[in-house]
């Protein structure tokens, strides 16, 4: 492993025990993340992208979960580590920005105190220093009148402001890796743009690595250098963002790209909808999980599971028996 690699994920599988049986939410996922790099993880609901981000952090519930494989963050193994050992990583090495800013802040604790906690408990700052630093962080994430907002309760802040506070909490311990799980899903477009720019800016400024988990290809298109596309818990395609957009080989990637409407297309452009619905994780088909919805599926797809294999470009992998031909030019 090169010393540039910050995060090394190998064959990670996360399965939940449910009353209806064993549910494999993440299935054999592997990738590397270099320092200062930003990686996008894209998939629809049920693709396992959120469970994957929690598994990387080791933040899954305590019981009823089985994780196998290896997640090494700066050389430290997360899978199987004790809660105490993981606690050492959390906040200091890796921090998370959550999906819904309305529910991710404690409603009865002042926002300043929620930032303070990392500084005082984890960094051992005293009360005054923690307060000063918390206000600095609030200013850094673009909260106006940070001094007075320090004592505000979350309910008096708008969604955008709350997400800035969540980012401030994540930055408090100066982590090397920031995991952002759908950080802008519930926000308005103009606020979404603000938050994405903020994440971009702090990542560059603090030299962090970032994993941006989202269902929206628009979010990752210009803000990540590499992409992982997930379907039914597995990686179906990965490569540089450019390669995945322009030279994708997996039919699901194309379907995902072409089924979402674009502002640049004329109105009443017929959308290439994917038939059927996202897969049932408790009852996955034997072969390729996408086969039932795939226009190119053959008998082999329905019986045998494709593994990731390299495409022409370096670092570009796809899992498909009938890959699409490389198209010339960009997909749009």
């Amino acid at each position: 492993m090169s010393d540039e690699t910050l995060l090394r994920v190998r064959e990670v599988t996360t399965a939940f025990d449910t009353p209806q049986g064993r549910l494999t939410a993440v299935d054999g996922v592997s990738f590397d993340l270099a320092a200062h790099e930003s990686l996008g993880v894209v998939g629809e609901s049920g693709s396992g992208k959120t469970v994957l981000s929690r598994t990387i952090m080791g933040l899954q519930p305590r019981r009823g979960v089985a994780v196998t494989g290896s997640v090494r963050l700066n050389g430290a193994e997360v899978v199987g580590a004790s809660e105490g050992a993981k606690r050492e990583l959390w906040g200091r090495q890796v921090a998370m920005v959550f999906q819904d800013p309305m529910t991710s802040l404690n409603p009865v604790v002042k926002v300043g105190k929620q930032i303070d906690e990392v500084l005082r408990v984890r960094l051992g700052m005293n009360r005054a220093a923690a307060r000063a630093r918390a206000i600095e962080l609030l200013e850094m994430v673009g909260i106006p009148a940070a001094d007075s907002r320090y004592g505000a309760y979350p309910h008096s802040l708008s969604g955008g402001m709350r997400q800035r506070v969540v980012i401030a909490i994540a930055l408090a311990g100066s982590p090397q890796l920031l995991l952002a799980d759908e950080p802008t899903t519930g926000l308005d477009v103009t606020i979404q743009a603000q938050i994405l720019n903020l994440l971009d800016e702090v990542q560059g400024r603090l030299g962090m690595s970032m994993i941006l988990v989202t269902h929206d290809l628009g979010v990752v298109a210009t803000r990540t250098s590499r992409l992982v596309v997930m379907y039914a818990g597995r990686v179906v395609e990965t490569g540089t963002t450019r390669d995945v957009f322009a030279r994708h080989r997996m039919p699901y990637t194309r379907a995902l790209l072409e089924s979402s409407p674009k502002v640049s297309n004329p109105s009443h452009t017929r959308l290439a909808a994917i038939p059927g619905r996202p897969p049932n994780l408790l009852d996955l088909p034997t072969g390729c999980a996408f086969a039932p919805r795939c226009a190119y599926a053959t008998d082999r797809c329905r019986t045998e599971r494709p593994v990731l294999e390299p495409a022409d470009e370096p670092g570009h992998l796809f899992a498909c028996f009938n890959p699409l031909p490389v198209r010339v030019g960009s997909p749009s």
Binding site: L59, R87, M96, Q99, T103, L105, P107, Y153, I169, A172
Partner: protein, 316 residues
């Protein structure tokens, strides 16, 4: 916040007035002549004359109410026609006993229920949680009077603990050891009832809270589980607990009679039961009024505590 409290205070006063009307009017709702009901067994021509003078029974009902109210505001709830003791004197002697019983039982209840609920919520469906769940459910289904009968049988008789009667009751200020000895059993009985309720309410809210995203965020900061439970989970989970406690404590004040009656503790409930037996209407009326107001004040205090715990509530 201040506006919210002011509004609550106004409603409080309004309700007290309505309750006073209710307590006053009770006598007119009952069948028969009010004078006969009030005098009960203490009927005599002199008493009758005094009653008419005291309440102005021949005057219009509205005027009677104002006379009655004026007396009450001067601390005069009337004088019992049966014992010839002022009602307020009787109540003042009994009330501290209820308060002591409630304070003791509530300290005990919270001290037991909160840690139990936390250990249950930490690992729902663990053997401890299942056991506590089943146990609390069973206790919930045993009425207080059955519990008292059983406890008296086991503790007071089998273990020969001194069973104090009304005559031997000693106030806290006189001899706290003897007092606590006699208050232990009733407080424990009341506490058992409260613990089961508090445990169940807090446990289910804690479990819901621990599934909230902000708890995951707190975990992701790398702080200890103990800190998460006490600093992040307990406060947002205690809104329903405080609401329940307010109602429950009010219920103890109003419903403590059964325990007092069975254990011979001369509190308000005991006095109430006795007065009902003697048909001492004025004492009953006085206790109804005092207890009602007490219940409302307790609810108000707990509503206030809730707004302290959850700042979102005062905003609505």
């Amino acid at each position: 916040m201040a506006r919210y409290l002011a509004r609550r205070l106004i409603t409080l006063v309004g309700i007290v007035i309505i309750i006073s009307i209710g307590a006053f009017y009770l006598i007119h709702l009952l069948p028969g002549d009010p004078a006969t009901v009030i005098l009960g067994t203490g009927d005599s021509p002199q008493n009758r004359a005094r009653l008419y003078a005291q309440l102005g029974l021949n005057r219009p009902v509205i005027e009677q109410y104002f006379v009655w109210m004026k007396n009450i505001l001067h601390g005069n709830l009337g004088t019992s026609f049966i014992s010839q003791v002022p009602v307020w004197t009787t109540i003042r002697a009994a009330l501290p006993i209820d308060l002591e019983m409630i304070v003791l039982s509530q300290i005990l209840s919270f001290a037991v229920a909160v840690p139990l609920a936390m250990s249950s919520a930490k690992r729902p469906d663990s053997w401890l949680d299942r056991f506590l769940g089943a146990f609390s459910f069973t206790m919930l289904s045993i009425p207080a009077f059955i519990l008292v009968v059983v406890l008296v049988l086991v503790v007071a008789i089998k273990w020969a603990v001194p069973h104090t009667g009304v005559s031997s009751y000693v106030p806290l200020s006189q001899d706290w050891v003897t007092n606590l000895e006699s208050m232990a059993l009733p407080s424990i009985v009341l506490a058992i009832g409260s613990v089961t309720v508090y445990y169940r309410v807090l446990r289910s809210d804690l479990i819901a809270t621990l599934q909230q995203e902000y708890i995951t965020l707190a975990r992701s900061k790398g702080i200890s589980q103990r800190r998460i439970l006490w600093r992040h989970a307990l406060r947002p989970s205690s809104v329903a607990l405080l609401g329940t406690a307010g109602v429950n404590i009010g219920g103890l004040l109003a419903g403590g009679f059964i325990v007092q009656y069975l254990l011979d503790i001369p509190g308000l409930g005991y006095t109430l039961v006795n007065s009902i037996g003697l048909s001492d209407y004025l004492v009953v009326q006085g206790i109804v009024l005092v207890v009602s107001i007490g219940v409302i004040v307790i609810n108000f205090v707990f509503d206030f505590l809730i707004t302290l715990v959850d700042p979102r509530i005062a905003r609505e």
